[in-house]
Symmetry: C2
């Protein structure tokens, strides 16, 4: 069985680990599965061959024999269900870990993506300065709730799981904003994830692809 994933030929973030192939690389490193990478250009992502695998023209995709998957959360869950290391054995604990995967992508990430959109796509609009604090406050509400639940625990539910992998990947988007500074336990939680050997290996591998920095033009 050969696993092949797709990733940006040149990531818009220049290799800071924010592109979503990073989640999948990290998951595969946690479960010690080798994988191959097919790099795709921005143009190729919108062409029929890629759209057949990923209907929304994004990366990553995941291929394993005749199985083709898309959506980062679904790929990470597939890896976690197929190999030991990302989900607990106990059925109830597994279900709770999956709650955190969905909480990451459907509750915590949306306002963070909205903030990124405001900066990237609406940074030149006249409403930028007045609207930014509104969007930041929506992010802060979620961080406050997440911080309250995490408390002084190391991980979201007992042991490290795919739920932590997905949540840390979402929080990583805020690292450069300074917004995590107000939540020391979340900043420490993110750092705890980043020091995992599997994370470090995945990060180094995607950085090597993007060694030239972000794409120009």
């Amino acid at each position: 069985m050969t696993i092949t994933i797709t990733a940006f030929e040149r990531s818009p973030d220049g290799g800071r680990g924010l592109a979503r192939d990073m989640h999948v690389r990290w998951a595969l490193e946690e479960v010690a599965q080798p994988y191959e990478v097919r790099l795709v250009s921005f143009q190729a992502m919108k062409e029929a061959a890629h759209l057949a695998r990923q209907p929304f023209g994004q990366i990553p995709t995941y291929e394993e024999d005749d199985l083709v998957l898309f959506e980062t959360g679904a790929i990470v869950l597939h890896i976690a269900q197929r190999h030991a290391g990302l989900l607990p054995d106990d059925a109830n604990a597994r279900a709770r870990a999956i709650c955190w995967m969905f909480a990451a992508v459907n509750t915590v990430e949306p306002p963070i993506l909205e903030l990124a959109t405001a900066r990237l796509l609406e940074g030149d609009k006249p409403w930028r300065d007045e609207r930014s604090p509104l969007v930041e406050e929506r992010v802060r509400v979620r961080l406050k709730q997440l911080s309250a639940r995490l408390g002084d625990a190391d991980w979201l539910d007992d042991a490290f799981s795919a739920g932590d992998l997905m949540m840390a990947s979402v929080l990583l988007r805020l690292k450069s904003s300074g917004m995590l500074d107000a939540f020391p336990n979340l900043a420490a939680y993110l750092a705890r994830n980043e020091t995992r050997p599997a994370y470090k290996r995945a990060f180094a591998t995607q950085l090597a692809v993007n060694a030239g920095g972000p794409p120009t033009g």
Copy 2:
């Protein structure tokens, strides 16, 4: 085994089926599992007892013996994995159905929620009229991609699955906007979901709770 879910005491949508308990009710009807409902007020949702079950102060939650789950997607997946009727038997087809669950909540829903936020929370802002078309265009991009993939198929991947349940629940948020009119296959897909007996039973049950209409004040 008794299943208990939580729902709004009075839903902000007045029973149009947009509150997220609807997804869970529909899933439970599809797999023919009886359930009980505990209604919670807006105030109770922010109190410690509810936050212990749902750290973000939302509904629904799901309780089954000593298991407590939150996040709609995770609850629907748990139901689908535990009971026949929402996921195919073939392992690869199951993984593909789960792709569509994540695509619904992490790719198609975010711009739709952003549009709802723009109308609900920023409807009185000076940028409303100039910004609305930008947000609508982000929604339209996703609809166009989803429409292209669906084509003239009845369901997203062969037979009806939890992936369709989640995607239809997301599209339902656009029903009153008229945006689906430009994508007849998506409008027909949504209608196909709405005519399922399980959907109808779930819809009628949540409507009965909200028979008085949306909450005032």
